[in-house]
């Protein structure tokens, strides 16, 4: 995959907090990344690592209050999404950046027909005659592979299966030919065969339409088959940024290693699954040290004093870790010693 060198989206130092009754939750802490034109970027991490909040912050879709975007820039086509006025941002939402959400069961309005929900998006960004927009909606349903689309246009969401609803969500997100498609765990709520279908669909659509895709997931198998580059998030920060093949061959951050090691394997039978010991970090205090340090098998004193910054370790990779040379675990799944190392913590 050749990647255009000028990014379509450049995010710098994005910081989002939630001011809740229990205190301030530091959900996203200084996240920076680039998204190249036509690139598929996978964002992985545990629940609560800030993947979704990061992406929703970009379009300011987090509820404010309690959410608050404290700092950062998100340059999209030369303009900062985080500081532009709401009217301009609305042109980007749905027009240039399409969003697919996790749960297709609840993400569609239950009392509005599928056709009207697609047309609604068209009416905002590409207003035209109603008939023409209906026709475009029909075309979109065909594009996402919905059988007998004429009938489906008049259906209510409850009349469709989960997979079909997610296809409708994709049709809505793609309605106005966006430059970027953000997919927030779009297959999590679906069963495995439907997951595969949706994955294939997005793959095909990306090749056909050429938009960049940000795919949020916690399924590393999905990442391997779909994405060009991986961002690993932990505790509201990006801890590793690597091309997908290099990431699988040689994860650099101890957390990435742990993630890969915990994948169940087809070759080692009867063993207990490997896990990363400990709990995800409490985000109620601002990170002053490496947030992974308490769970890291390689942690040393500097990790408790300073929070590592995301730094380039090669032309294509960035890692946020104080270890100069992280022990390399090649083929984490088959290596018994690697499992032991990562699994036991400290």
């Amino acid at each position: 995959m050749t990647v255009d060198p000028t990014p379509v989206l450049r995010v710098t130092d994005l910081t989002t907090r939630f001011n809740t009754q229990d205190g301030t939750v530091h959900a996203v802490n200084g996240v920076s990344f680039d998204l190249a034109d036509g690139e598929v970027l996978g964002v992985v991490g545990e629940s609560g690592s800030g993947k979704s909040v990061t992406m929703m912050s970009l379009l300011r879709l987090i509820p404010t209050p309690p959410g608050e975007i404290l700092a950062g820039q998100a340059i999209f086509e030369g303009d900062d999404l985080l500081s532009m006025d709401l009217g301009d941002l609305r042109k980007v939402r749905g027009g240039k950046v399409g969003f697919i959400f996790q749960d297709p069961m609840t993400s569609l309005n239950p009392v509005v027909t599928v056709g009207d929900q697609i047309v609604e998006s068209l009416a905002v960004h590409q207003p035209g005659r109603r008939k023409a927009m209906r026709l475009r909606a029909l075309e979109l349903l065909q594009l996402v592979g919905i059988p007998s689309p004429e009938e489906r246009l008049r259906c209510y969401p409850y009349e469709l299966s989960g997979g079909m609803r997610q296809r409708v969500m994709i049709a809505i997100a793609l309605a106005c030919n966006p430059k970027v498609l953000v997919a927030d765990e779009p297959t999590t709520a679906l069963d495995v065969t439907i997951q595969a279908q949706i994955l294939e669909l997005v793959k095909g659509l990306r090749e056909k339409l050429g938009m960049a895709v940000i795919w949020i997931t916690h399924d590393l198998g999905v990442v391997a088959g779909l994405v060009d580059r991986v961002l690993v998030m932990y505790g509201g920060q990006i801890v590793e940024d690597a091309p997908v093949d290099e990431f699988y061959a040689q994860p650099r951050h101890p957390y990435s290693q742990g993630l890969l090691a915990s994948l169940p394997s087809a070759t080692s039978r009867g063993d207990k699954l490997v896990n990363i010991q400990g709990q995800p970090p409490d985000l109620r205090s601002a990170p002053a040290s490496c947030s992974f340090a308490p769970r890291c098998p390689h942690a040393f004193d500097r990790c408790d004093r300073e929070n590592p910054v995301l730094a380039a370790v090669s032309a294509t990779r960035k890692v946020a870790c104080w270890l100069d040379e992280v022990p390399v675990l090649v083929g984490a799944q088959s290596d018994e010693t690697a499992k032991g190392q990562v699994g036991h913590g400290r």
Binding site: L59, L61, G94, L108, V111, Y156
Partner: protein, 336 residues
Amino acid sequence: MLWFIGRRAAIAVPTLVAISFIIFAILDLAPGDPTSHLPLTIPREVREQIRESMGVNDPFLVKWLLWVKQVMIHEPISLIEQLFNVQIGSGERTRVISWQSRGPVVETIAERLPQTTWVMGLAFVFGILIAVPVGVISAYKQYSVFDQIGTFVSMVGYSVPTFFTGLLAIVIFSVKLGWFPSYYDTTLEVTDWSSFVAQIKQIVLPVGVLSMFNAAALSRFTRSSMLDNLSEDYVRTARSKGLKEKRVLVRHVLRNSLIPVVTLIALQVPGIFAGALITEQIFRINGIGHLLISSIHGGDIPMVQTLSFLIAALTVLFNLVADVVYGMLDPRIRYD
């Protein structure tokens, strides 16, 4: 849907018969004598004859069935005759006769109904017009100053009874300020501008008090329904499509939030006809509520029975209407 309505209407008939039995039985057990307000000089035997002629001494079942026949068959036919100026059959049939006025109860009810529907209907409409916007804004700006004030006012409005707010309004606006009359004059006919102004003036206080009371509960209900829907995923989807906030709110959130609210509103419609028992007393509106109270005082059992039954029948009817409206607003509800 038609099948559903037909089935529900069919079920309504035995329901109404059962209701009529309960109402009739309870009131029949109540102490009271139709001759008690006649002069004491009437001899005992004559009194007994009057009772006999009124059918008071008939067995309970006979009295009940006769009444059911009169209320459910004779009165509707008479009503149709009057409305369309036709004669059905011989035109001779027994009617439910008031013990007080000695005339058919239905005619008295028809006299009283306009005052009640006029005041209650306006209060109902204004109540909705106030409650829905207040509920929507309160939910959208949750915990804002507007929401806090709205919450306070509706809590007060709901918990303070209308006989208090009504009297308070009379004391302030009629006695102290002299802006509005303290009672509702039902003999006033609107013929010209000044009588129209007088009509508006006398209706302000009762309608105001009642619509505040209606709005209080309804706005709370709208608010909580809005809050439930505002946090739904599809609202985020709507925003992610680039829709304006107003459209997100009206087309997506409000449309879903109104489903339970409209049901509640439909269930309140019988109240328009049933009248306000207490408020009508305070403002001296001689409507249905007033009629019911005075009939209870006067021991006019046929009137009380018929009024109670009419209110019950309307409640059954609007329950059905609420279900139908619910099905029309929410495509997920299927009745077949």
